[in-house]
């Protein structure tokens, strides 16, 4: 069982890294409802990628996610995890291999944080030492002190802390797949943004295959390697990387769902490092500075706020690497933002 990415883990995991996931013509009909909840949904999610299911309420995104670990039985089609049909698996055993995070978190109030995190490893029959090591490792991974937080009860934690513990609990057995249903939905915007960033940096280390459900297109753009947009009645409207969805919406529904500001959202995906900056020759670096790692969107905002004065772009060492002008960033916007005018210019990133 080769383990490449998970550096802090020393042999306590029970599953191989990440598994690919494939939904094949998956449909779900409820007996008492005329309209199906999901119609012939097909998605291929490569191992180690985050796929965000996004759509308005009634689009069946949560249903689709719950079909994967068989919390809901599918009506037709098949779901393959690592090439193997989940329908051939015992549901409880299958679920122990799939991390599960829900919006309300569902921590066990009668168990300490450490006991909560140890849930699935204990179900899998790990030895006590191995469980304890794993719990400490995960608490450290999410930036919490095992000595301090481990013995607490969920009621003694803040909402943000509880949500982190929920993610840690889902990661406990190092599952090849994580299902996350609006995991940051019930959290204030500032904490949510921080948790999103934390999860992305965590994901960069653990490289799970993740199915992430949200109704928030901005969250989808931020979190997803790929985004699947579902429309009412569980039909797939578009599936692709965020860039593609923003540049080239498949239809009016998608265009409306991603918002009229999709051009700006797209700028949010690139940093100034992706832009050919104006050489500073002749122009003196101004006082209005911006980091090379800032998003093009934030740089544009700063530019506009400064009345259009060119921004001095600096790298980590505070050395000037170029200038960002209104004209330059406007050009980037025009290239990618309006798909009616795209002629191959849209593939700059």
């Amino acid at each position: 069982m080769p383990k490449s990415h998970n550096a802090p883990d020393e042999g306590s995991s029970s599953f191989p890294q990440a598994a690919s996931l494939e939904l094949r013509d998956v449909s779900k009909r409820y007996p008492n409802q005329k309209e199906p909840a999901i119609v012939e949904l097909s998605l291929e999610i490569p191992a180690g990628e985050v796929c965000v299911l996004v759509g308005p309420s009634g689009s069946g995104k949560t249903t689709a996610m719950r079909l994967i670990n068989r919390m809901i039985a599918l009506s037709s089609g098949d779901i393959l995890l690592g090439g193997q049909s989940v329908l051939k698996r015992d549901p409880t055993k299958l679920r122990r291999e799939i991390g599960y995070v829900i919006q309300q978190i569902g921590l066990f109030p009668h168990q300490t944080v450490a006991e909560n995190i140890a849930t699935v490893p204990k179900l899998l029959g790990w030895e006590r030492d191995r469980v304890n090591r794993r719990v400490e490792e995960l608490l450290s991974l999410i930036g919490m002190d095992p000595e301090e937080i481990g013995p607490r009860y969920p009621a003694q934690l803040s909402g943000g802390q509880r949500q982190r513990i929920g993610v840690a609990r889902a990661l406990a057995s190092d599952p090849p797949l994580m299902l996350m249903d609006e995991p940051f939905g019930a959290i204030d915007p500032i904490t949510r943004s921080r948790l999103q960033d934390e999860f992305l940096s965590l994901q960069a280390r653990v490289r799970k295959t993740v199915v992430f459900v949200t109704h928030d297109i901005d969250e989808a753009i931020k979190m997803g390697d790929k985004i699947a947009i579902l429309r009412q009645g569980g039909k797939l409207a578009q599936y692709g990387p965020p860039e593609e969805i923003l540049t080239d919406p498949a239809d009016d529904f998608v265009a409306e769902f991603v918002g009229a500001d999709r051009a700006l959202k797209r700028l949010g995906l690139s940093t100034l490092a992706n832009v050919d900056l104006v050489a500073p020759n002749g122009l003196r670096p101004g006082t209005n500075r911006v980091a090379l790692t800032a998003s093009v969107r934030d740089a544009l905002s700063q530019l506009l706020a400064g009345g259009g004065e060119p921004l001095t772009v600096v790298d980590d060492n505070d050395d000037v690497v170029g200038l960002a002008t209104l004209e330059l960033l406007g050009g980037v916007l025009a290239d990618g933002g309006l798909h009616t005018e795209e002629q191959g210019a849209g593939d700059r990133a």
């Binding site: 409880t92 679920r95 599960y100 109030p109 849930t119 179900l123 009860y153 003694q156």
Partner: protein, 243 residues
């Protein structure tokens, strides 16, 4: 031990003056001498019997009502018939129930009759509390348990019942105090428990010292049991005070 102290209590004879103690002859409010003379032979055995009666009744009632509550939790239709039957049992006046039961063939004047009646009074309380406790387990906790790979019985034993514990123990507390009180009446059919000295005091021109001693013991037993059960609950559910 099973049969009430041979020879019975020393009952003062107010008219005949067989007792050499003025306090008892005059049937004053409380005679400590009588208490010290009769503790070992009358009160202590009665108290022990009372505890045994109560523990047996609450234990059987606990097992029966918890089982019924778990079934009703899984299959909702079970709740109504159980509630109807246990409510009827609960509302029958205790004297009447003892009287009816001892007329049933095989029951008669026995410990069985006493226990069956006492158990029947615990069922409604403990059934309703346990069922409420199970139902109040948050949906998301149940969902998370299922999503992590708990089977139905694992969810019940490791999540639902532990989380229902405060409600379950609250039911046990009420049932215990109820049984301690009713068990005094049970001595009508089963010559055991603190009801025996109470009845003997009443039948002996209301001998105050004996009546008060036994009554106070019953109340003290109820209070002590309740306090112990509260401690048990704190011990078992440390999380319920965490916040």
């Amino acid at each position: 031990m099973s049969y009430f102290a041979a020879g019975g209590p020393v009952i003062p004879n107010f008219g005949g003056g067989s007792s050499s103690f003025a306090c008892e002859r005059a049937n004053r409010l409380f005679c400590t001498h009588w208490l010290s003379q009769n503790w070992d032979s009358v009160l202590w055995p009665a108290l022990r019997q009372h505890v045994v009666l109560t523990v047996i009744a609450v234990s059987i009632g606990f097992v029966v009502s918890t089982t019924l509550a778990v079934i009703a939790h899984r299959r909702g239709w079970v709740e109504r018939p159980v509630l109807i039957i246990t409510s009827i049992l609960y509302t029958i006046p205790s004297l009447a129930l003892f009287e009816i039961l001892q007329g049933v063939p095989g029951f008669g004047l026995s410990a069985t009759t006493a226990e069956v009646a006492l158990v029947s009074y615990t069922l409604l309380i403990m059934f309703r509390n346990t069922l409420t406790g199970l139902r109040e387990v948050p949906d998301e906790v149940r969902d998370a348990a299922a999503g992590m790979g708990f089977g139905p019985s694992q969810t019940l034993l490791r999540v639902e019942l532990p989380l229902a514990l405060p409600a379950i123990i609250a039911g046990v507390r009420i049932a215990t105090v109820t049984v301690i009180s009713l068990a005094t009446v049970a001595s009508l059919v089963d010559n055991e428990g603190l009801g025996v000295p109470i009845l003997s005091a009443i039948s002996n021109n209301v001998f105050k010292t004996e009546l008060i001693s036994a009554g106070v013991l019953a109340v003290a037993l109820a209070l002590l049991s309740d306090a112990l059960l509260i401690r048990l609950q704190r011990r078992l559910t440390p999380w319920s005070r965490a916040s």
